[in-house]
């Protein structure tokens, strides 16, 4: 069984869980993901591995409550089990040979950016972490990033914490000041990753985006996670999830991500109503 050893509410809509999943933990590397189901009727939820502990046989995931499935998962308490965890899936982030890297996370994407920053730091690379959020209340992993980053820049859209503006503001400043990164790694909302790609394009700076499209099996069967990269069809589960950000068709990816948004809203409301009934 896949027992939840630790559950932590990071902010109003983000939850971290450390779950027993020895098969996933034994080979997990930064950049890979697991697929998780809360219960027998549950949806398969792809979640990037935020951390892992091979000895304890656990993986940690951080997820945002988006629809019914993530809401059901968020209700699980410490000591309870989830029905399924499978992984590690996808290819690990390629970090070999990098010495000076900007790791840029946006919102829940910071959960994915963190293990990459941690790995780079462990390899002795110089890490500049830029973590962006909408507002100060939503900031997560600040302490963790500070531990692994040589330089941590926090941004919020409303300026309530750190620098005001989005992640591209400090990124542009650093690039204009002549900072020589070997690579930029970015993960977060699609529009943010698109802007990061546009910011680094004039510098021909290698920029890797971690994509998180809709998935079902996660092993190269359903074709749901397809993207256009450099004019070719790629599948995030087996070809990615990391791709050259300068080649990704972000517009198309944004369209595909909206496929089930109406359903998700409905499912969330249904769950909320159930909650209210229970409270009464």
């Amino acid at each position: 069984m896949y027992r939840i050893l630790k559950r932590e509410q990071l902010n109003a809509s983000l939850v971290r869980m450390e779950i027993e999943a020895p098969l996933a933990a034994r080979k997990a590397l930064a950049g890979q993901f697991v697929i998780l189901r809360a219960d027998e009727r549950g949806e398969r939820i792809p979640l990037t591995i935020a951390d892992f502990d091979r000895e304890r046989g656990t993986v940690s995931v951080i997820f945002q409550i988006v629809g019914g499935a993530t809401m059901a998962l968020a209700q699980r308490r410490e000591g309870e089990c989830v029905a399924d965890v499978v992984g590690p899936l996808g290819n690990p982030t390629e970090v070999e040979g990098l010495t000076n890297v900007a790791v840029i996370g946006g919102g829940v994407g910071c959960a994915i950016a963190y293990p990459v920053a941690k790995r780079l730091h462990a390899m002795g690379a110089r890490v500049t972490a830029i973590a962006g959020f909408r507002t100060g209340d939503l900031v997560i992993l600040q302490r963790e990033f500070a531990e692994v980053a040589d330089r941590l820049i926090l941004t919020t859209d409303d300026g309530s914490l750190g620098e005001k503006g989005n992640v591209c503001v400090p990124l542009n400043r650093l690039l204009e000041a002549g900072e020589r990164f070997d690579a930029v790694f970015t993960v977060g909302p699609l529009p943010m990753m698109k802007y990061v790609a546009e910011a680094t394009r004039p510098y021909r700076l290698k920029t890797i985006a971690s994509m998180n499209p809709i998935m079902i099996d996660g092993t190269g069967m359903c074709g749901c996670c397809r993207l256009t990269v450099g004019g070719e069809m790629k599948f995030a589960c087996v070809d990615g999830p990391d791709f050259d950000a300068h080649l990704i068709d972000f517009g198309e990816a944004m369209g595909r991500l909206r496929t089930y948004s109406a359903f998700e809203n409905m499912a969330r409301e249904r769950h909320c109503n159930l909650f209210q009934k229970e409270v009464k």
Partner: protein, 473 residues
């Protein structure tokens, strides 16, 4: 021996009414009763040549089991089938009998061939209902074999090996065993309870099935052999990445691979009220392709309340789907546009599909597959309104193992290289099913699994000869 039933017509199998089944996922075909099964089995002439068996990819001893059914010895008949076929309730439902056993039946020369598939289904279902199976766990021979993938190839290989006394562990990446039988083939054609019971039957034979285990990620093939002590590995990883046409608009919102559409419905039960997995709310669906998968997708979409058109580039005569599926699809109101081929998915300003641009085709000379090659008719372009397009064009084998297994030779499309017995380029590693051939049928995969099991048995015996004597002998 009973008298032969010389009626030229076969017994039809009762089916659910098309108007009723359009709105639910209940099984369409309702099965024979005992009397009908006996009467149909008596139509077998028990001819010497046994052409039916040549048509069977797993070599079921057809006249023998039919003779037992004719005598009312159903459980004995089941045992005969089960000897070479690990999943009789499945194959009885999904085999293309018309091109295999029944296609070669002597009775088919004048009248209908014997309803072999229907009878096979009857005895398998009866066995399950009566549940009078004897626990058939064979004494272990002390040798361990790993099977990767729990689809028809893997289960068939595992069943065969367990029967021979091997300790078999099946690794399945999904949360449920059965592979395409659970994610691909819909409930109304193959109830999932049947698949569950067939896999239970294998478990009762001592086969261990580990779900949520991805070989190629959690462990490599090499680790299975060196660290976990499996002496041989069978790779039955099945259908992989869906094929697309490479036409504009194919990544628009509302365009799905049949794999995705069917997985949402079958594995994730998206058609059930309150299911957490969403399904795209389509009004007009165009399904591209003419195989069983295309029929399954079309019939699922009908049940979800959409108007459905199947677009196929050849004519009705070339449809590769089982005859019965095509008839059922037509009865359920699926429309067919033969001899036309999509050229573009039309989209609105928001990148959502709104139609399918097609061109009419004519049939030219036969191609490598023996079917007449379709050619576009110039100036015949037309548009089909569709807010959902489902591509059912087959799959390329799963790329995961080829990419993560050193020394495993693969073909140009990522298919695992294997000979007729399933031997790959790596010693002790065998493969079969769609992972080797690309999209094919359940029964061909089962046949490949069975042949590989024989080869694995030979391989391990030979290895054992060179080292210690086998236990349990």
């Amino acid at each position: 021996m009973q008298n032969v039933n010389m009626t030229e017509k076969r017994h039809t199998m009762p089916a659910r009414d098309p108007s009723e089944r359009c709105s639910n996922f209940c099984e369409v075909m309702l099965g024979y009763d005992e009397e009908t099964a006996i009467s149909e089995a008596r139509r077998c002439l028990n001819c010497k040549a046994r052409p039916c068996m040549e048509g069977c990819p797993v070599g079921v001893m057809i006249p023998d089991f039919l003779a037992l059914v004719a005598e009312g010895k159903f459980e004995e008949a089941y045992e005969v089938v089960r000897r070479t076929n690990a999943l009789p309730a499945v194959s009885g439902r999904v085999c293309p009998q018309e091109t295999q056993c029944e296609g070669r039946c002597v009775r088919g020369k004048r009248g209908d061939p014997v309803g072999i598939g229907y009878i096979e289904r009857f005895i398998a279902d009866r066995h399950m209902q009566k549940n009078d199976c004897i626990p058939r766990k064979t004494i272990s021979n002390g040798h361990k074999v790993a099977v990767v993938g729990s689809g028809p190839a893997g289960l068939s290989c595992a069943g065969e090996l367990a029967e021979l006394g091997y300790e078999v562990t099946v690794f399945e990446a999904l949360h449920l065993a059965g592979g395409v039988l659970v994610y691909g083939i819909p409930e109304f054609r193959l109830p999932k309870e049947i698949v569950r019971r067939e896999t239970e039957e294998l478990r009762a034979c001592g086969v261990e099935i580990v779900t949520n285990a991805v070989v190629g990620r959690s462990f490599s093939v090499e680790e299975l052999m060196k660290e976990y002590g499996f002496e041989a590995v069978f790779l039955g990883t099945g259908a992989g990445l869906p094929r697309f046409m490479g036409i504009p608009g194919e990544n628009a919102r509302g365009v799905f691979s049949a794999n995705e559409y069917l997985t949402r419905i079958n594995l994730m039960k998206a058609y059930e009220e309150g299911a957490e997995t969403p399904l795209f709310p389509a009004r007009k669906v165009a399904v591209v392709g003419g195989g069983n998968v295309a029929m399954d997708a079309a019939r699922c979409a009908r049940r979800m309340g959409a108007e459905v058109t199947v677009v196929y580039r050849r004519s009705a005569a070339e449809l590769p789907a089982r005859r019965e599926e095509v008839v059922h699809a037509e009865e359920e109101g699926v429309r067919f546009r033969f001899l036309c081929n999509p050229t573009e998915v039309l989209t609105d300003g928001e990148n959502a599909a709104i139609g399918l641009c097609c061109v009419e085709m004519t049939l030219g000379e036969p191609d490598a597959s023996g079917r007449r090659r379709p050619k576009p008719k110039t100036g015949s372009e037309f548009t089909l309104e569709a807010d959902c397009v489902i591509m059912a064009l087959g799959t390329s084998p799963n790329p995961l193992l080829g990419r993560t297994t050193d020394g495993l030779q693969t073909g140009p499309h990522g298919e695992i290289g294997a000979d007729g017995a399933g031997r790959t380029s790596l010693e002790g590693v065998f493969a079969g099913g769609d992972a080797v051939t690309g999209s094919a049928t359940v029964i061909l995969a089962m046949g490949a699994g069975r042949r590989a099991a024989k080869a694995i048995d030979e391989y391990i015996r030979r290895q054992a000869c060179h080292s210690e004597p086998r236990r349990g002998e």
